[in-house]
Symmetry: C2
Subunit: 301 residues, 2 copies
């Protein structure tokens, strides 16, 4: 089998994989929250030259336990503008990309928000993998935070990537305009990954991506019925405000999507249902929330 043929085969396999993952994660959310309502949109797009350019499946969820969530996949391809081709480092004016992107904002502030993304991209002759997963807790449940990091350590360490990808995540999800405070407690992040061995890269990324449910769902189940205070919620809503600040001011994926004429509703599904902004917001002195703030900086878990 030629190299091109093999690449095509793995592209198809990765596109299938993210859809399976989308179903698995959707099912798991429905299991957790029987009130969950699904708003699914299957959309198509045109490429830069107006030809059919693929599309996606957007699943927006709202419920009592999961206040809002998005579990999206897309497979897009076709012509891109020259400037866009340059930006993504392509060798011609075409691109192909598939991936899953998900965000889960639970209502209870004792349950963390989580985000993950796994994608495969081809631009001209180059291709690579990118993605990651990160957690945004609002309450210092030390064991939950350690657990999340441990799952991703176990997932990535066999491939020798944990330390690097953990660091990249700490460096990526940062509100530079807020004293370099992170939006959450990090996780893993990688981009432009291509070791030269497609089969092994594919297997690794598929394997790692399967850890999302394990990293997050047990935390949701453990905390979703935990009682919380109005102060917990107030802190959560303000931190969600910082989440919005990060996604709109700094997130490359959001800017990339909006600038490449992506589907706005699918991209901004990442924003929390409710949030708060207060001038010079700080949690109360001596509160558990003030203590929580210490976790929003790189830390060896």
């Amino acid at each position: 089998m030629g190299q091109n043929e093999m690449l095509e085969q793995y592209k198809t396999k990765f596109a299938e994989h993210v859809k399976v993952l989308q179903d698995e994660i959707s099912d798991e959310l429905k299991d957790i929250d029987s009130s969950l309502e699904l708003n699914q949109d299957i959309w198509e797009r045109k490429d830069y030259e107006g030809n059919p350019g693929g599309g996606g499946i957007t699943r927006a969820f709202t419920g009592d336990i999961i206040e809002n969530a998005g579990v999206n996949t897309s497979l897009v391809h076709g012509a891109v503008s020259e400037s866009f081709a340059k930006q993504i480092g392509g060798t011609d004016n075409t691109m192909w990309a598939t991936g899953i992107s998900l965000i889960i904002h639970p209502r209870n502030p004792r349950v963390p928000t989580s985000h993950a993304n796994f994608r495969m991209i081809q631009a001209g002759e180059k291709y690579w993998f990118g993605g990651g997963a990160d957690l945004t807790p609002f309450y210092p449940h030390e064991e939950d935070m350690r657990y999340f990091h441990q799952v991703w350590k176990d997932a990535c360490e066999p491939y020798g990537h944990y330390a690097e990808w953990k660091k990249k995540c700490d460096e990526y999800f940062v509100n530079h305009h807020r004293n370099s405070e992170m939006r959450g407690i990090g996780g893993i992040f990688y981009d432009h990954y291509n070791s030269g061995d497609l089969e092994s890269d594919f297997n690794m990324v598929v394997d790692i991506s399967k850890h999302f449910l394990k990293s997050y769902i047990p935390i949701v189940k453990k905390r979703m019925n935990e009682e919380y205070t109005p102060e917990d919620e107030d802190f959560q809503l303000h931190r969600r405000g910082r989440y919005v600040e990060f996604n709109l001011l700094h997130d490359r994926g959001t800017h990339f999507g909006l600038k490449s004429n992506g589907r706005t509703d699918s991209i901004l599904i990442s924003l929390p249902a409710r949030c708060k902004f207060s001038y010079a917001y700080r949690p109360n002195e001596g509160s558990v929330h003030e203590k929580m703030m210490e976790n929003y900086y790189p830390k060896d878990w």
Copy 2:
């Protein structure tokens, strides 16, 4: 009197003017809302070389009628980076700027949000004026919207600038990623204004800036006790979400401030206390809010 001396004199006068305006607007807000609490911060900054570079007076208000508001002035000066000097079109690596920037988010969705800004900038040998005022109503009180635009028309037409500045405003406050929907209904917007006659430019800008209270306060007084429905509030909170999207994704002033290492809390005072984001949000069919949406596009009032 030499040209330089005259410029220095008008810079001082403009800095004084914006502080008077700050007091007048603050007083008016306190008159309207007796519950209003003020959180004032007087801050200083260093310039690019670490020397004293001026500062500002930030006034953050929260109350029952005015949910949150910011009425800020600043006077900053000193060395800037070469890239920043280029960006603002300066002739050397220094800048000087003073201005007032204000945002008022009333709680009652029948009362519009409003924003205004009046500034004078010097970069090397060049100086200019910039600013404007715009309204973001959430309910189609036709007479209020017409009134706001009429005041600014009356303010700017004597100087021959209304049509141009109204159009600039329609073009500026646009959520390009939301089908070019505006964040509100516009008003006026101008930048890099310098006719060559400093005295006349100064007098004009001061005169125009004095129209803010007249353009907005009568609307607040007329509507602040109007009863509203939960649907009105839901629409308002979602439109506030779009306000956040504009300010963080598109607003040049916000990006300029954050990138020039401005005071984050003072810059992001523009964000509303509470807001909502829902996937593919649309107001109910046939509702008054759906009708309101038609006003978020350029229109001859």
